[in-house]
Each structure stands twice: as structure tokens, then as C-alpha cells.
């Protein structure tokens, strides 16, 4: 992507009177770090980047913004928020529209066609982080890693993130401004992660998740990063009634993770952020992708494609599958 064009566009957008700020990506403080950027002026816009390291889904910030109590007489700031989205991120925006989490005219969506992101863990393992800033760029058939001035060409297969291997929507599905030309889509890979669990027997699956969920420290990073976990007051935090105890143990951790996965069924747009941020390395993506697959295969529904769609969990079809009913 042409960074000059990106920065120029961003500067124009933030200069608009009806735009409050723009959320994009900028370089972090060292190594491969990329940070979210909240841009309000041209100077800030000059810092924006779009690279294979911009894996984070910024749409979560749309609903994270706190609506603090306003002093009497003060009008709320209703200006638009501009947001840079990849294909997957754009589905989160669409799903938020379906759920009325945001309003269409409350956002300016800047679409970034995405050739695929890098798996940070793989990258850092092979090419350890440096003190100074490193860069990664797309090449025709892979990535170019630049560390301390040293350039290394890497094949796409070597470093492509799992969610991008499985990706079916690399181009933003909703946007007000599209940066650059759409990328060519690719054949999504088989979901080996889900299959690995699927092919175990029921006890094997329980044992697998028992091990995983036992590691959960209930930091709620998964919930915080998820663009679709945006209830101000999550039921899993409540005491009356208590759905899940706060105690960190296998039973409560499992209940928490089942509840979260269920709440995301038919809503998750597979951006993979939960799994990426999990400090305990729980493969949460498998859980959510499995549900997304069931919803797609059995119910013929995919969230985040159509802002006018009926929400999956608030609709039914008379011929929904019922082979499980006695």
C-alpha cells in the first residue's frame, strides 16, 4: 500500500469538521511493535502505517470508548470516528451495525485491502526482536523483514498468521474510502486447528480443553480485545445472579469460556484477536471458528457480511436443523 496516499487521505479525513479522530496503526516503540494510533491532525496522520504487522482489529475501540457522565448543559460530542479496517475488521464493523452497537453515520470506514498478516510469534521466534524498530513489508510472494538495516526475504507460507491462511474476506466488505486496489483472494486453507480437536473422541476433547482452560488466568484480555464483547456490564461479572464465580479454577474457567464462546456464536467474525492476546496461549480461535463453521454449514449464516441481516441469535428458520431432538 502506498503510505503517502494513506497519510494524505487520513489527513483529509481528520481535517473534516464532522470527524472527531481517526483510529489507525502506527509504529510502536521497539522491534516489531505496532500501536493503535488516535489521530486528530495532519501531524498525527503522518505517523500512520499499514504493514503485515497491523494484525490488531481496531474496531474494538469503537465500543470501548467510555461515555462519561456529562456536566449539565454540555452537549455530547457526536462527531464521527474514522477507522482503518482490514477485511476481517470490516466484518466486525458490519456486525456492530447489525447489533446497533454503532451507527452507520457515526463512522468513517477506511478500507485497507489486506494481503495477509504475519504471525508475530513465528516471526519473533525466527527473527528475534531488536532494540530498534524493525519493519516488515509485503513483497510479491511473501514478506520482507528489515532488522537493523538487514533485509531478509521470507516466503508467505513461513510467516502468514493462521487466521489469514483461513481468510475468505481479505478485502473490506464495508467502507467509505477504499485505499488502493482490492487484493486477489486466495483459497482458504483447511482449518487444521479445529480438525485436530474435532477428530478426538469426546473424552479426548474434554481432556484437551481441560488442559487449556486450566491455564486460563481469567485476565479477560479475550473479552476486552473482542470487538463484539462490548456489554458495559458483562453478565459474567455479575453477582446476582452469579453465572460464573470469580474463583480461578478449572470449573469456573470452563464455564467462562463456554459462556463467551456461546455468546459469540453466529456473531464472531473470526478476527482471531482473542487468541492472539491470550497470555496463556489458549487456542480460543478454535472454539470460535468451530462455532462459526457450524453456523455456516448447518444454518447457512455468516455474520458481518450484511448490515441489514437479522441477527443470528435473534432469528430462526422453520427448517433449522433438529436432528438432535429426541
Amino acid at each position: 500500500m502506498d503510505l503517502e496516499k494513506l497519510r494524505e487521505t487520513a489527513a483529509e479525513v481528520v481535517a473534516r469538521e464532522d470527524v472527531k479522530y481517526l483510529i489507525g496503526w502506527k509504529n510502536g516503540s521497539y522491534g516489531y511493535r505496532v500501536a493503535p494510533a488516535f489521530i486528530e491532525d495532519a501531524e498525527g496522520a503522518a505517523e500512520l502505517i499499514f504493514s503485515p504487522l497491523c494484525i490488531s482489529n481496531l474496531s474494538t475501540y469503537l465500543t470501548l470508548v467510555e461515555k462519561l457522565p456529562l456536566p449539565r448543559g454540555q452537549e455530547p460530542d457526536t462527531r464521527k470516528i474514522a477507522l482503518m479496517v482490514k477485511g476481517c475488521d470490516s466484518r466486525a464493523v458490519t456486525q456492530l451495525l447489525v447489533e446497533k452497537g454503532i451507527e452507520r453515520d457515526g463512522v468513517v470506514v477506511i478500507g485497507c485491502p489486506c494481503p495477509g498478516m504475519i504471525d508475530y510469534d513465528l516471526l519473533a521466534e525466527k527473527y528475534p526482536e531488536t532494540e530498534g524498530l524493525s519493519e516488515v513489508k509485503w513483497t510479491d510472494d511473501g514478506f520482507l523483514v528489515i532488522r537493523d538495516g538487514e533485509e531478509t526475504n521470507v516466503t508467505r507460507d513461513e510467516l502468514l498468521a493462521e487466521k489469514c491462511r483461513l481468510c475468505r474476506y481479505p478485502n473490506p466488505l464495508i467502507s467509505d474510502i477504499m485505499l488502493g486496489e482490492p487484493v486477489e483472494t486466495w483459497e482458504p486453507a483447511e482449518d487444521k486447528g479445529v480438525e485436530e480437536v474435532d477428530k478426538k473422541d469426546v473424552n479426548g476433547r474434554w481432556a484437551y480443553w481441560e488442559e487449556q482452560f486450566s491455564n486460563c488466568i481469567r485476565c479477560y484480555s479475550c473479552r476486552n480485545v473482542c470487538p463484539l464483547c462490548y456489554c458495559q456490564d458483562c453478565i459474567l461479572d455479575r453477582l446476582n445472579p452469579t453465572w460464573v464465580n470469580r474463583a480461578v479454577n478449572f470449573s469456573e474457567n470452563t464455564a467462562f469460556n463456554i459462556a463467551r464462546a456461546f455468546h459469540l456464536a453466529g456473531r464472531c467474525i473470526e478476527c482471531g484477536e482473542c487468541e492472539r492476546v491470550c497470555p496463556a496461549n489458549i487456542p480460543l480461535g478454535r472454539l470460535n471458528r468451530k462455532m462459526a463453521r457450524e453456523v455456516r454449514d448447518k444454518y447457512g449464516f455468516e455474520p458481518g457480511l450484511d448490515p441489514e441481516a437479522e441477527p443470528f441469535q435473534a432469528s430462526y428458520k422453520p427448517d433449522d436443523p433438529e436432528d438432535f431432538i429426541l
Binding site: 464455564a255 472454539l287 444454518y299 431432538i325
Partner: protein
């Protein structure tokens, strides 16, 4: 599971069809196992799928949700919503490794006292085969 090795089952029944069907089984003096404890709700649409998880966590070895046949819901559509939600939950639970024999859903109408007996028997038998679900129990259960 209790000392006599019997599975403990919680059932959520809609008021209009399945609860009435279970009442009819009583009026008809149809005998069936006593392991199933019924919680009455107005409609299966009321059954939050997380109740199933919660029941298994809080001492149940099996859970049953039963409502009106499709098209017969007293509230027109509640059982359709329930079917979708609970179907999803069943898939999720199976993927997590909860024995599918621990959760059943059925359609039992107000006139199907005998079907209610069959559903209870099947649910109990399946839960018995699946065994106690101590592994998932909440450490301390208060009410």
C-alpha cells in the same frame, strides 16, 4: 451422582406442552424413573442455553429441555428460537468434550404423556451411561 449411583437430571419444561404432558403422564399413572427434576418455565424460548452449562456445573449429570412441537408453541415462535440456540449449544458442548448424552432436547405435547415417559427414560439411561460429571463441578454450590 448420588450414593446409589443414580444420575441427577434437571429438566426445563415449557408450561403449555411438555409440563402439561408430564402432568398427563401423572394423571395416567405412567411410571418412570425419578431422576428427572423439573423446572417449569413458560416457554422453551425462555431457556437461556447457559442454564444447561450452569446445571451441569451445579450438580446435574444430565439436562433436558422439552417444549411444544414446531408450529405448536403457545407463544408462536419460542420453540423455534430454543431449537436454534440449544442446537448451537449442543454443538459447542460436544466440541468442548461434554458427552452429548448429557444434554437432550425433545418435543412433548400436552397429550403425549407416554412420550414424556420415553423421553425421561432415554435421558436417564444416557446420563447413566455418561456417568457422573464431577469433573465440571463448581467447588461450592450455594443457593
Amino acid at each position: 451422582m448420588s450414593a446409589n449411583n443414580e444420575p441427577n437430571i434437571v429438566a426445563f419444561l415449557c408450561n403449555w406442552c411438555s409440563y402439561a404432558g408430564a402432568d398427563l403422564a401423572g394423571t395416567s399413572r405412567v411410571h418412570y424413573p425419578s431422576n428427572v427434576q423439573v423446572i417449569r418455565v413458560m416457554c422453551t424460548g425462555r431457556v437461556n442455553p447457559l442454564y444447561v452449562m450452569n446445571a451441569l456445573q451445579q450438580g446435574a449429570d444430565g439436562v433436558l429441555v422439552s417444549g411444544c412441537h414446531p408450529g405448536d408453541c403457545h407463544y408462536m415462535e419460542g420453540n423455534y428460537y430454543a431449537r436454534r440456540r440449544l442446537g448451537m449449544l449442543k454443538d459447542l458442548m460436544e466440541f468442548v468434550g461434554v458427552d452429548p448424552r448429557r444434554f437432550h432436547m425433545s418435543w412433548v405435547s400436552a397429550s403425549e404423556g407416554h412420550k414424556w415417559k420415553e423421553v425421561v427414560e432415554k435421558t436417564v439411561e444416557d446420563a447413566r451411561e455418561a456417568g457422573s460429571f464431577e469433573g465440571f463441578r463448581r467447588r461450592q454450590i450455594d443457593w
